[in-house]
């Protein structure tokens, strides 16, 4: 029996804005045979500081994550960009410090984005969920280009009865979120998300999915500002059969 004690790195955005994604992640991981732990001393992976050029704070945050997560078999993240931060960028922070570099490298090797972990490591090739409708999928940049996540979510989505996937034009082009970019360069970000929204609408899908909450908040916010009735969800919600919850930015009925 493999050791499948996985630590869920929840990510600050899911923690604060969309806990449903956290519960969906736990459900999917448990169904795949993992024992899921949510380490208590977790906050943020450090991307905001890292991408603002604040290396000292990034290093401190990375050390905190390494200490809290290094004892588990796997570290699973429901976000391509936060998973990429830990697995691709943490080692680069410690090139001058061999002790921390070793620890960062070890953590890096066992950190995975949720969906690709399910398919590539746990061998999941289908999910037992229901969904009625047409969805389209946006490939969030870090997951796609840093972690090669492309086929995995599509494969799992295709196993759901009643779900039709209609491909999005330029699905691999950035939605304009980019962390602090979307507020620092709001006008440019707007043009990018405007273009993305047009392409999403053109698919005729009723639901837009992606694997990164930052991008989802951006695209949902734009579609809703423009009065477009289209549900926006994290892909894990649909895979876990939790699409009965209100979509992102949609009020709950009760």
């Amino acid at each position: 029996m493999k050791n499948n004690r996985v630590a869920l790195f929840i990510t600050c955005l899911v923690d604060l804005f969309r806990p449903t994604v956290g519960f969906a992640s736990i459900k999917l991981l448990e169904e795949a045979g993992c024992e899921v732990v949510v380490p208590r001393q977790q906050t943020c992976c450090g991307q905001p500081a890292y991408n603002t050029g604040d290396r000292a704070d990034t290093i401190s945050i990375a050390k905190q994550v390494i200490v809290e997560f290094e004892d588990y078999d796997y570290i699973i993240v429901p976000s391509g960009s936060c998973a990429g931060m830990i697995s691709k960028h943490y080692p680069a922070l410690f090139s001058q410090d061999s002790n921390w570099l070793d620890r960062a490298n070890r953590l890096s090797k066992k950190t995975y984005e949720l969906i690709s972990f399910l398919t590539d490591i746990m061998g999941v090739d289908s999910v037992d969920s229901e969904f009625q409708g047409t969805v389209t999928y946006h490939d969030a940049c870090s997951g796609l280009r840093e972690l090669s996540i492309h086929d995995q979510p599509r494969r799992l989505l295709s196993s759901i009865d009643g779900l039709h996937l209609r491909e999005l034009d330029d699905a691999n082009v950035c939605c304009g979120f980019g962390g602090t970019f979307c507020v620092k360069y709001a006008d440019i970000s707007n043009r990018m998300v405007e273009t993305k929204a047009e392409q999403v609408i053109a698919t005729g899908a009723d639901t837009l999915l992606a694997g990164d909450l930052g991008c989802l908040l951006n695209m949902a916010g734009k579609l809703q500002r423009d009065g477009v009735e289209l549900n926006v969800r994290h892909v894990a919600e649909v895979l876990a059969g939790m699409a009965d919850k209100p979509a992102i930015g949609v009020p709950s009925k009760d």
Partner: protein, 471 residues
């Protein structure tokens, strides 16, 4: 000329975003470039291998730059040419003027050259009373419009056909108003007619160089119009304006780089013309210049050697990064405010101008990584943009509001208990206020966000709060 500078990137971007012609022109060119590149590399199974090779060739050359530059210089001299070393753009201007004045030039033909742009050669020539004529169609168009190139290989890519037609009618006053000029071939024919005469009038031809070959002392240019050949062969004097990192060891290496260059740039297997020039005309040659000069420009490049920006010197100026950059495709090249736009400009411009002048450029990126993905020499552009942000942060050039905001967030992130206390309280309030509409159309602390989009409301309690209540 409408001058825009890198420090005004934000203002430039807003102006460009409002330009409907620009939007139309960029939408049209985008698919042409990205689709063309994809098709051409799909047809070449060893493309990835070639990219690695191209990267290695450039790395090797840059690590031994002094050796290859000296070897190149020797070969140019032994083939009868002249080599001039220019530390700065100003030095390059003076050398060009000096050569032109020595031969009494009144008219100069220009092949397309970004180093020429970097050195403001046209302005320097005009100021000295010498007429400079751009012979590349795109360059010719922007010259008659008094603009700067907006792209390193497609200088007029920001213009629609209608805008070009309008400019032609304004400048080519001999045109019959009835004459149809609404298609590229007719525009080209018109430009050609005017330019043909000029080729024979010029005493000096200036071109850039895509590569300089140390083994043979040759300079190589690639063009699709043949204008480069006429510019450099017909006048009495040929000046090659090139930056020092253009040197490669030998012709074999140059051909490897040429194979990735055209595919990455325009999606062609090879450019229409690839011209190799070695020295001035020899006795047995039928044509060619009597004098052959090479100006080797540094202009800040050597200061990038040995730093985290050294990899940038691998760049072979194909333009693939900007063709695939969603920021460039939104604002166009002029927003960047200097010679080099897009991701390569966002890394190179701070290196050549200083990060205090060009600091916006490496910040205006979502780090989507598409530029690095398509770069034929694997330049880690996002990583280097981040290095520039680090330099800015160290020097307190990052705007104070962002600096303080990020430091406050980091302070909280480094104290998990404080984080949980603060977030479980504030998020619950925010979720409660937003529960009716599910989102906010304005929030005092999130104006940058809510200017253009709603902010989805938090679901309610934080995940960590809910989880701790369960277990």
């Amino acid at each position: 000329m409408t001058e825009s500078i890198p420090s005004q990137f934000k203002e430039n971007a807003v102006r460009q975003l409002a330009d409907e012609d620009l939007r139309q022109a960029l939408t049209k060119s985008k698919g042409h470039f990205t689709g063309g590149r994809q098709k051409s590399i799909d047809n070449l199974p060893e493309f990835e291998e070639l990219r690695d090779k191209a990267r290695d060739i450039k790395n090797h050359t840059i690590e031994n730059l002094d050796f290859y530059l000296e070897a190149y210089e020797k070969k140019v001299l032994s083939s009868g040419g002249h080599v001039h070393w220019a530390s700065t753009a100003k030095d390059a201007q003076e050398i060009v003027l000096n050569i032109c004045q020595t031969v009494g030039a009144t008219s100069v033909n220009k092949g397309k050259s970004m180093i020429g742009e970097e050195c403001d050669i046209n302005e320097a020539l005009e100021a000295a009373g010498i007429n400079a004529v751009e012979t590349d169609l795109g360059e010719y168009i922007i010259q008659i419009r008094n603009e700067r190139p907006s792209h390193i290989i497609a200088p007029a890519v920001h213009l629609t056909k209608a805008q070009v037609e309008e400019s032609f009618r304004e400048t080519h006053t001999h045109l019959d108003p009835e004459r149809v000029l609404d298609e590229p071939p007719t525009l080209l024919e018109e430009a050609r007619k005017v330019l043909r005469k000029k080729y024979f009038e010029a005493e000096v031809g200036i071109t850039g160089a895509n590569f300089l070959v140390a083994e043979t002392g040759s300079s190589i240019i690639v063009t699709n119009e043949g204008n480069g050949d006429l510019s450099q062969l017909l006048p009495r004097v040929h000046i090659v304006l090139a930056s020092i990192e253009k040197v490669v060891p030998n012709l074999e290496d140059a051909s490897t780089l040429l194979r990735v260059l055209a595919r990455s740039a325009t999606g062609q297997e090879f450019s229409v013309y690839t011209t190799i020039s070695t020295g001035p005309r020899r006795d047995e040659d039928l044509d060619g210049p009597e004098e052959y000069h090479v100006i080797l420009l540094d202009n800040g490049r050597t200061s990038m050697l040995g730093t985290e920006f050294q990899d940038m010197l691998r760049c072979i100026r194909c333009g693939a990064c900007m063709n695939h950059c969603p920021v460039y495709q939104s604002v166009g090249g002029h927003a960047y405010g200097w010679v080099y736009p897009g991701p390569m400009g966002a890394v190179l411009s701070p290196g050549l101008l200083g990060v205090d002048e060009a600091g916006h450029l490496p910040n205006a990126s979502t780090f989507c990584g598409r530029c690095e993905e398509v770069c034929p020499v694997h330049i880690p552009l996002p990583k280097m943009m981040r290095h520039w942000r680090e330099r800015e942060f160290e020097r307190h050039l990052t705007p104070n509001a962002y600096r303080k905001g990020i430091q406050l967030w980091s302070f909280i992130a480094l104290r998990p208990n404080l984080y949980k206390r603060l977030t479980s309280f504030h998020i619950r309030i925010l979720g409660w206020i937003g529960r009716r509409r599910g989102r906010f159309s304005s929030l005092p602390m999130a104006k940058g966000w809510t200017k253009y989009r709603d902010l989805p409301a938090p679901e309610g309690k934080t995940f960590q709060k809910q989880w701790s209540e369960r277990s």
